[in-house]
């Protein structure tokens, strides 16, 4: 009888979140603005938005190449809305593949000079889908401990044995590869740029080791596409080892300036992925306007050498400016378009974040468990559309806020 159940003691499934609820309450009780509740009321350009009625420079958007307001990109999206409607209402393998989905996959093949491209609805799903599908029971996934959540979740969703190694440690990776039993399938998962500290991986050396042990190699180039490498193909291209990579994972939600994810590969059997990869099959495809904007943006990124050069300038200037001001940074030298400023603790990190917001600057506050070594970080991601003057303005804002909060002497 149902009423009998009423006497059974009730365990609140939410009680496991109590420590986090408590931590959040303490933070907000200190009077600080909620770092995870910001609303952008209007977005004026790739680098400026209105936040809390204040004009704010955006320095935490991953909009590396500033394509979100490109006139050609916007025109392509509007045209696709008119021609194909607002959504596909279907899976890629049923009614959800329009001409635009094929066209953006073709653009990706050309961008990377690879044979196959498969577009997912998000970058998260691209990692989730590819990793969980290709590494199965009895196979081994060897991955960097600082891998993105989507990589870890892909590992968790699959049936392979998961073996992490210390961040960017080639010897630690080799030891693990060497110990894998003979005959087992091996997948090494690496990232070009690690987004928390903005450091890059020594891909050339790591991939050579992976190859020596017969492993297949997947590299997530989410934070390097469009920017790093002579053609913007990423860190593997920059280090001259892209031809040794079996699968490149990428996203449309950073340099490309919209949303979506993808995998490109030269594997001769790659197309079977479309039938066996569940995060590809069992979800609706991207709207026609999104794939049209992505395609236009990707094609423009093939010829964006001048923008890439300006973004490198911005990254170098900001890195030097913050270092000279006395901030502790995630890398000794600028390695990507991400500059991570290390905060002494969460309290002062949140205070600094708020002080910057009041100065009119938005950055990302990153805290454990998303960060390595339990660090609190203010992550800055630069844009090719940031002017040299804006970068100087940003350094001034950081310096004032750092003094106000007591992080700088």
């Amino acid at each position: 009888m149902l009423s009998d159940n009423m006497t059974v003691s009730h365990t609140d499934l939410f009680s496991k979140f109590d420590p986090l609820i408590e931590m959040r309450r303490n933070l907000l009780d200190s009077g600080v603005e909620d770092p995870f509740g910001l609303v952008m009321e209007r977005v004026l350009s790739p680098t400026v938005a209105m936040c809390n009625g204040r004009e704010t420079i955006l320095l935490g958007t991953y909009n590396y190449m500033g394509m979100t307001f490109d006139p050609d990109v916007i025109a392509a999206g509007k045209q696709a809305l008119d021609d194909f409607g607002s959504g596909t209402t279907g899976s890629r393998v049923l009614n959800g593949t329009y001409a635009g989905h094929r066209a953006v996959e073709q653009a990706l093949c050309e961008f990377y000079a690879m044979d196959h491209a498969m577009v997912f609805s998000t970058g998260y799903q691209a990692n989730l889908g590819i990793i969980s599908t290709i590494a199965g029971k009895g196979d081994y996934i060897v991955l960097d401990i600082d891998s993105h959540a989507s990589i870890w979740d892909g590992c968790k969703m699959g049936d392979a044995e998961v073996v992490p190694f210390k961040h960017n440690d080639i010897e630690a990776m080799e030891k693990r590869l060497r110990r894998i039993p003979d005959g087992a399938g091996k997948l090494v998962v690496l990232e070009g740029v690690y987004s928390m500290l903005g450091d890059i991986a020594p891909l050339k050396d790591m991939i050579a080791v992976a190859r020596k042990y017969g492993a297949m190699v997947l590299v997530d180039e989410a934070h390097s596409m469009g920017f790093i490498g002579p053609n913007g193909r990423g860190v593997a291209e920059d280090q001259g080892c892209l031809d040794q990579v079996d699968f490149v994972i990428g996203t449309f939600s950073k340099s490309v300036g919209t949303v979506g994810g993808f995998c490109v590969s030269n594997h001769p059997k790659f197309e079977i992925m479309r039938l066996v990869c569940r995060p590809y099959v069992f979800t609706a495809s991207l709207p026609p306007s999104v794939v049209a904007t992505a395609r236009t943006s990707i094609r423009k990124l093939m010829h964006a050498g001048a923008k890439r050069a300006h973004l490198w300038e911005n990254s170098k200037t900001l890195h030097k400016g913050l270092k000279d001001a006395g901030f502790q940074l995630g890398t000794d030298s600028p390695q990507s378009a991400i500059i991570a400023v290390i905060m002494p603790d969460l309290e002062r990190g949140a205070a600094m974040w708020e002080a910057l917001l009041h100065e009119g600057l938005y950055v990302n506050l990153a805290r454990p468990p998303a960060t390595p070594a339990n660090m609190t970080l203010l992550r800055c991601s630069l844009c090719a559309e940031h002017s040299a003057a804006q970068v100087q303005q940003i350094i001034g804002m950081f310096t004032r806020a750092g003094k106000a909060v007591g992080i700088l002497g």
């Binding site: 081994y140 401990i145 590992c155 044995e161 998961v162 073996v163 992490p164 190694f165 210390k166 630690a172 030891k175 693990r176 110990r179 894998i180 468990p369 070594a373 339990n374």
Partner: protein, 79 residues
């Protein structure tokens, strides 16, 4: 190598991670008693893997909660 010898070698490896010098028995739990966080687990597992030239995958680690289970797992992995 027998269980006793394996246990002795693991006990030597655990010392630098056992900051509070908790007395180790087969029932000592890594998270609750030794208060290992994820970073400590990674370093400790790496030390064990190197000592015995084995892999303890995360899937296997999920089954290991206490010291005794770890010793048994290492003995088994050593074959």
């Amino acid at each position: 190598m027998d269980r006793e010898e394996t246990s002795a070698r693991i006990a030597a490896l655990i010392a630098p991670f056992n900051k509070k010098e908790v007395a180790i028995t087969d029932r000592t739990r890594f998270t609750d008693d030794l208060e290992f966080d994820s970073l400590t687990v990674m370093d400790f597992v790496a030390a064990i893997e190197d000592e015995f030239d084995i892999i303890i995958s995360m899937n296997q680690q999920a089954e290991i909660e206490n010291y005794g289970q770890l010793v048994d797992a290492v003995v088994k992995l050593r074959g």
